[in-house]
């Protein structure tokens, strides 16, 4: 496993923060109540975890940019750990190993990154198993939740905030059937969120409301840029800020910096040629592993540019 330097937000000068204490400690565990509200706080280290929806967000940057823009008073840093086709079992992360090993590696990354808040976006790929897969999904989502909290902060896992994201709807040819399968998964995510005192971004329910049913995907499954811009509004609203006005690319300059930072971080945590750099052929090219930590300084530098640009939005 690679060592990532813990990312910490650069200091934001002249901040006065008055963030309400999170009320979720008071929420009873059962019966499931609506999930608690979540907010972003100054200094938050945010991790995005999920499938293609999260992975492509790294290249598009709409959600990250919108959250930065909606919290100009807070220094926030983001690390995107999305992986195409992934599930709550980390099925895309095994590489040469079984998925369980990939799951361990993912938790190891979270341990190194020490996030204060983690967005967890799964359920779409799992939904192809239909109702038969629901119980296993519920169990593993809960386990993932606990494991992430412990990984992020072993001494005070209860302090690590989790935010679950329900999948947006399919718009593919068989969308009706697919969404019928997706609905109970979304419901499960809501319920587990309530049980686990996690926050929620309910794309499944809220995205069609704010778009009045307009298309958000580019291929029936994955969000278009317009879709990401709309999803970003849902994230901002769910985090306790007013629903931003509709706009296709409200902070284009900032978004470009966000994407540049994410690209550098991608080359850092999922480098090409992993076989030779870290794995079973590292006796041949393992010397090139020295280049990997060199990305850290570049990521940091790119992050500073993001912060500087975000500040200007104030």
């Amino acid at each position: 496993m690679m060592h990532l330097s813990r990312f910490s937000p650069p200091a934001v000068v002249g901040l006065s923060i008055a963030v309400a204490m999170i009320p979720w400690a008071a929420v009873p565990a059962a019966p499931p109540a609506p999930p608690p509200a979540w907010v972003l706080r100054d200094g938050d280290r945010v991790v995005f975890l999920g499938d293609t929806f999260i992975e492509r967000e790294g290249d598009r940057g709409f959600i990250e940019t919108a959250l930065l823009a909606a919290h100009p008073e807070a220094a926030l840093t983001f690390r995107n750990l999305g992986w195409s086709g992934d599930t709550v079992w980390a099925e895309s992360r095994g590489v040469f190993d079984p998925a369980a090993k990939g799951y361990e590696r993912m938790l190891g990354l979270v341990r190194e990154l020490e996030p204060t808040i983690i967005f967890v976006a799964y359920g779409r790929n799992e939904s192809f198993k239909g109702d038969a897969g629901l119980a296993a999904f519920r169990g593993q989502l809960g386990k993932l939740c606990d494991d992430l909290r412990t990984a992020a902060h072993a001494n005070a896992p209860q302090d690590v905030r989790l935010v679950f994201v329900t999948p947006h709807r399919f718009e593919s040819l068989d969308a009706d059937a697919r969404n019928a399968a997706l609905a109970p998964y979304s419901q499960t995510i809501r319920e587990v969120a309530a049980e686990k005192q996690a926050g929620l971004v309910d794309l499944f329910a809220r995205l069609p409301e704010i778009t009045a049913g307009a298309a958000v995907t580019e291929n029936g499954v994955h969000l278009s840029n317009v879709g990401y811009a709309q999803a970003a509004r849902v994230f901002v609203e769910a985090g306790g800020r007013p629903l931003p006005t509709e706009s296709t690319d409200p902070s284009a300059a900032l978004r470009k910096l966000v994407v540049a930072k994410n690209t550098l971080f991608f080359h850092r945590w999922r480098p090409a040629n992993e076989t030779y750099i870290f794995l079973f052929r590292k006796h041949e090219q393992g010397n090139n592993a020295v280049e990997m930590p060199q990305f850290d300084a570049l990521v940091k530098e790119a992050e500073q540019k993001v912060q500087n640009s975000a500040k200007e939005l104030r």
Partner: protein, 1006 residues
């Protein structure tokens, strides 16, 4: 699967990047004229430069569009992006506007790409591009000839190795996009139909419009070549597999396929590795070139030709003399395409260094700027007129399907696909109606018409042309019937009874039709499809066809198994189908049905043998008893008894299944005069731990009338039998001077599982007097393959101190190395012995390779090899028995298969790499030759190269080339080993001899 080391900073061994490819001093100047002059070109052909840097650089793939323009993807980033480097690789369009065979216009269509290993025009002004983790679509929306829209079509492709990332784009005759990924890649791709995953290599089949994505065939190391023939059959090459041309069909799996216990093979065993593949032909080329396959042996700087002949369900392939051979190390042909003028175009990656495993990513000799496209023409023959398909009417495009040039047919078909079914379908119908049924090419043209409809299809009910499909399924031309079988699958969701359409084809006289029908039925699924697919069992089956039915039986297991168990399966009176299905799918639940049928009697001899094999392989202990009783029946011929015993032993070994009841009766077979039968009986006694047979084994062990193999088996069996009696016998046999050295060594080896300590003490005493190399090797190996064996032997050697001979210590060190592992305790003990022998108190690092060299030494040595060494003397040294080269390596068809084939080593590898690999065998291990070290539940240590792995079983090839099957359930631990090549093999050579050997190797393949 692989034990990983957690720290990124941990850098293995003493990697010396500066060492790699030191021999690469004479990099020729990058002058295209000089490169051309250095080519040896086949008689009757000439070569000219179509394009070179700076018009293009570092081409990775090229494809023509229907206008005749050549699209080229290029990467200067390969093999690895540098920290902070912005991905800016390109796609370039080359045009030869004046038709003089030279590109006169070049446009950078797109930049900002990250290692675009593949490019395919979409024929609408845009292109599909492989972009590391992504499959991109680039479009030119404003018509200025440059991409202005970039869309991720698919994502989630692995990048574990950047020459394995998705590559080799090709538009199929079915309008689908075919593309490959290589062995180290793990891909996870979300589509509207769910996640598609592929671990390891394979060819994908993709429809961009619906995003329907499936795996067409799996395996290979690097499927860098894939082409369709006129009938739509897939031929492929492997850039590292070494079996030449491969014939692929839906569901086929080849070497290195992940998760399958069975693979198919290429048609040219022991051939080098090939990149890019095209079928050549057309009016410009001479008669003897028509239909040949052209591919590139980029390692050996050659462009190669093959001739295919139809045979059985596939082909045979014959290698012909090269089209081009260059002595220049920088000539790296990696792609080949027929062009619009009838000439052959070859993309030359131009690089002194290939690969990035063996040579440092950042080696400054990697070329990042040059690249060439060469054009090969036939001397004195007219070119074919170039066609811009965009300018042709639909009728003209359809007319092009009759062109003698496959390139013209492909481009016309692509243009028709690009114009779409809505407009083109009526045109196709008119054209089909006007075809002359008596024309020689009628059957192919009608299939082309069907294919166009398949390609136009966007999923609506009206798009299915059932009458046309039925007509082609009933075509007198078998290749048309075979092709149509596949189309049934694409339309199955809108056909009433698709399986019934295939019913006549599973009993077709042509094996290829049966193969395609079986694969199509497996795709359709259902009980009826399973019943039909198993008809193929009634007919002859070559390897591909047998594999196809085997796979169908496994895939359709849930469709036929319940029916077989409850007796409702319709086998048409051919019980062989059921046996085949049960055996193929390893469906143990159906064995009682086979037992019952066997008892009914009346099975043919073939079916009876197959039934017994099936029961022995899959049956319960009660079922196995039935087989056992036949084994010990005096009426059973020894050969059959031996075969059946082999199955029973397999059941024990692979799944710990033993026949029920008392098994002492097998003792009778120990006396068999049939060596194979007696040996199997001895192995059975050991496997089933029949202690009562111990005395007889002891007697056999030294019987002069028995063959050495039988005696050896008896000794080994004694080691497996519990109790003091067998141990005493072995101790006696192991004593020096008591019998032959082979017997002593075998007895020592057999003692190891009985008692490590006892065996180690005994072995140390014996080694002090031993001289037979093979026997000594065998004893070392016995300790090295037992859990804690090496450490126990080390302790005994330490205890023996001065009495242990230094010469034997050296062979011990070699044995450790040959086991492909590090055994620090034993190595230290042996090194101490060696050190003591030269008067040193401690194991010295100098006991490393005799020919270890500093960088300066190496420079001098490389020069010495160039100027003073002799190839002929080197060849004689290579063949020396003591050096063991030929016992592991092949050169072409000669030698063993343990290590890589060295046929092209000289062409592929610079001098310093060859020297380095001889001195430090573990340092650079060829792709596919890394070892695994497996510890089993019963304390066995197996080291070898992975041959295959499934959920049930791991197969390794060990240092003597033997395949070892290990049930996955028995695996206790696994770790990555080093190389099977022993270190120190060349320590016995003088500097001059080593130079000669290096010189010989360096000229192989040149």
């Amino acid at each position: 699967m692989i034990v990983r080391i957690a720290a990124a900073v941990l850098i293995a061994l003493s990697v010396q990047p500066a060492l790699a490819q030191r021999g690469l001093k004479d990099i020729p100047p990058p002058d295209p004229a000089a490169e051309l002059a250095a080519m040896e070109i086949a008689d009757g052909y000439e070569v000219n430069l179509f394009a070179a840097d700076p018009l293009i650089s570092k081409p990775l793939q090229m494809n023509f569009d229907p206008q005749g323009r050549l699209w080229v993807s290029s990467s200067s980033i390969y093999p690895q992006i540098r920290p902070g480097e912005v991905a800016n690789d390109t796609v370039t369009i080359l045009e030869d506007r004046d038709g003089d065979g030279r590109a006169d216009a070049s446009t950078v269509f797109a930049d900002g790409l990250l290692m675009p290993t593949a490019i395919l025009p979409d024929d609408l002004g845009g292109a599909y591009v492989a972009n590391s983790t992504e499959f991109l679509h680039l479009a030119d929306t404003n018509g200025d000839g440059r991409a202005d829209s970039r869309k991720v079509v698919l994502s989630g492709f692995g990048t574990e190795d950047t020459h394995h990332i998705i590559h080799t784009f090709r538009r199929g005759p079915d309008a689908r996009l075919y593309f490959s990924q290589s062995i180290y890649i793990h891909s996870h791709v979300e589509t509207p139909q769910g996640v598609r995953r592929l671990n390891g290599g394979g060819i994908w089949r993709f429809q961009p419009e619906s995003l329907a994505l499936d795996v067409f065939a799996r395996g290979w190391v690097n499927t860098w070549g894939h082409v369709f023939d006129a009938w739509g059959r897939s031929l492929a090459t492997d850039g590292a597999g070494g079996e030449g041309i491969y014939y692929a069909f839906p569901g086929a799996a080849f070497q290195a396929a992940v998760g399958t216990p069975r693979v198919l093979h290429g048609m040219n065993p022991s051939s080098p590795k090939y990149c890019g593949l095209e079928i050549i032909g057309g009016r410009h080329l001479p008669d003897d070139a028509q239909g040949l396959l052209v591919t590139n042996d980029f390692r050996a700087n050659r462009v190669c030709r093959f001739r295919l002949t139809e045979a059985g369900s596939g082909f045979t392939s014959e290698k012909l003399p090269d089209l081009i051979h260059s002595k220049r190390v920088t000539f790296r042909p990696i792609d080949v395409k027929m062009g619009p003028d009838g000439a052959i175009y070859i993309a030359d990656w131009y690089n002194p260094i290939i690969q990035h495993g063996e040579v440092d990513f950042r080696d400054e000799r990697r070329d990042r700027t040059h690249g060439r496209i060469w054009r090969v023409t036939a001397k004195g023959r007219p070119l074919v007129p170039r066609i811009d398909c965009k300018q042709l009417s639909a009728a003209e495009l359809l007319g092009q399907l009759e062109s003698p040039e496959a390139h013209a047919r492909d481009m016309a078909r692509r243009e028709l696909f690009a114009r779409g079914g809505e407009q083109m379908r009526p045109e196709v119908d008119r054209w089909l109606a006007a075809l002359d049924p008596k024309a020689a090419n009628f059957e192919r043209l009608r299939l082309d018409g069907l294919r166009l409809k398949q390609g136009f299809d966007r999923g609506s009910a009206t798009e299915v042309d059932l009458p046309l499909l039925q007509a082609v399924l009933a075509s007198p031309e078998s290749r048309a019937r075979a092709a149509a079988a596949r189309i049934v699958c694409d339309w199955a969701d809108r056909l009433e009874a698709p399986a019934e359409l295939l019913a006549p084809l599973v009993d077709d006289p042509a094996p290829q039709v049966r193969l395609e029908a079986v694969r199509a039925l497996a795709t359709l699924g259902g009980t009826r499809a399973a019943e039909l697919a198993l008809h193929a069992v009634d007919h002859d089956r070559d390897d591909s066809l047998d594999y196809a039915v085997w796979l169908a039986a496994r895939e359709l297991r849930e469709a036929w198994l319940p029916a077989v168990i409850d007796g409702t399966f319709v086998d048409g009176g051919k019980f062989g189908r059921v046996i085949f299905a049960v055996r193929s799918a390893e469906a143990g639940a159906a064995v009682p049905r086979i037992v019952a049928r066997l008892r009914e009697g009346g099975l043919s001899a073939t079916d009876r043998a197959a039934a017994l094999d099936c029961i022995a392989t899959l049956g319960s202990p009660q079922d196995l008893r039935l087989v056992f009783d036949i084994v010990v029946d005096p009426a059973t011929p020894p050969a059959e008894a031996s075969t059946l015993l082999g199955h029973l032993l397999g059941a024990q070994q692979r799944r710990r299944a033993v026949p029920a009841g008392d098994l002492i009766a097998v003792e009778k077979l120990l006396a068999s005069s049939d060596d194979a039968c007696a040996t199997r009986a001895i192995e059975a006694v050991a496997a089933w731990k029949i202690a009562a047979a111990g005395d007889e084994l002891a007697a056999i062990a030294t019987q002069a009338t028995r063959s050495p193999a039988v005696c050896g088996a008896a000794i080994a069996a004694l080691g497996a039998l519990p109790g003091n009696a067998s141990r005493e016998v072995l101790l006696q046999l192991a004593k020096a001077g008591s019998g032959s050295v082979q017997t002593q060594a075998a007895a020592l080896a057999a003692l190891v599982p009985q008692s490590r300590e006892l065996a180690a003490r005994q072995a140390v005493a014996w080694l002090a007097t031993a001289s037979d190399t093979a026997a000594i090797d065998g004893v070392y190996r016995a300790f090295l393959t037992a859990k804690d064996g090496a450490a126990t032997l080390a302790a005994a050697i330490d205890a023996a101190e001065a009495s242990f001979p230094a010469a034997l210590a050296k062979s011990g060190l070699q044995a450790i190395s040959a086991a492909g592992r590090q055994e620090p305790a034993l190595a230290k003990a042996l090194e101490t012995v060696v050190a003591r022998s030269v008067g040193s108190a401690a194991p010295q690092p100098a006991s490393g390779p005799r020919h270890a060299m500093t960088n300066a030494d190496l420079d001098a040595f490389v020069e010495f090899v160039r100027t003073k060494a002799d190839r002929g003397r080197g060849e004689a040294i290579y063949k020396r028995e003591s050096l063991k080269c030929v016992s592991c390596h092949r050169i072409g068809d000669d030698g063993a298969r343990v290590g890589p084939n060295l046929a092209a080593i000289g062409a592929a590898s610079p001098l310093d790499y060859i020297i380095d690999s001889l001195v430090y065998p573990a340092k650079n291990v060829k792709e596919g030759f890394n070892t695994l070290v497996v510890l089993t539940d019963d304390g066995q240590v197996v080291t070898g190269i992975q041959v295959s792995r499934s959920d049930e079983e791991l197969v390794l090839r060990d240092a003597i080339g033997k395949e070892v099957k290990i049930p996955t359930a028995d695996i206790d631990e696994e770790s990555a080993g080093t190389s099977l090549m022993p270190a120190g093999l060349i320590d016995g050579l003088s500097r001059e001899e080593l130079a000669d050997l290096v010189r010989y190797l360096s000229e192989l393949g040149r």
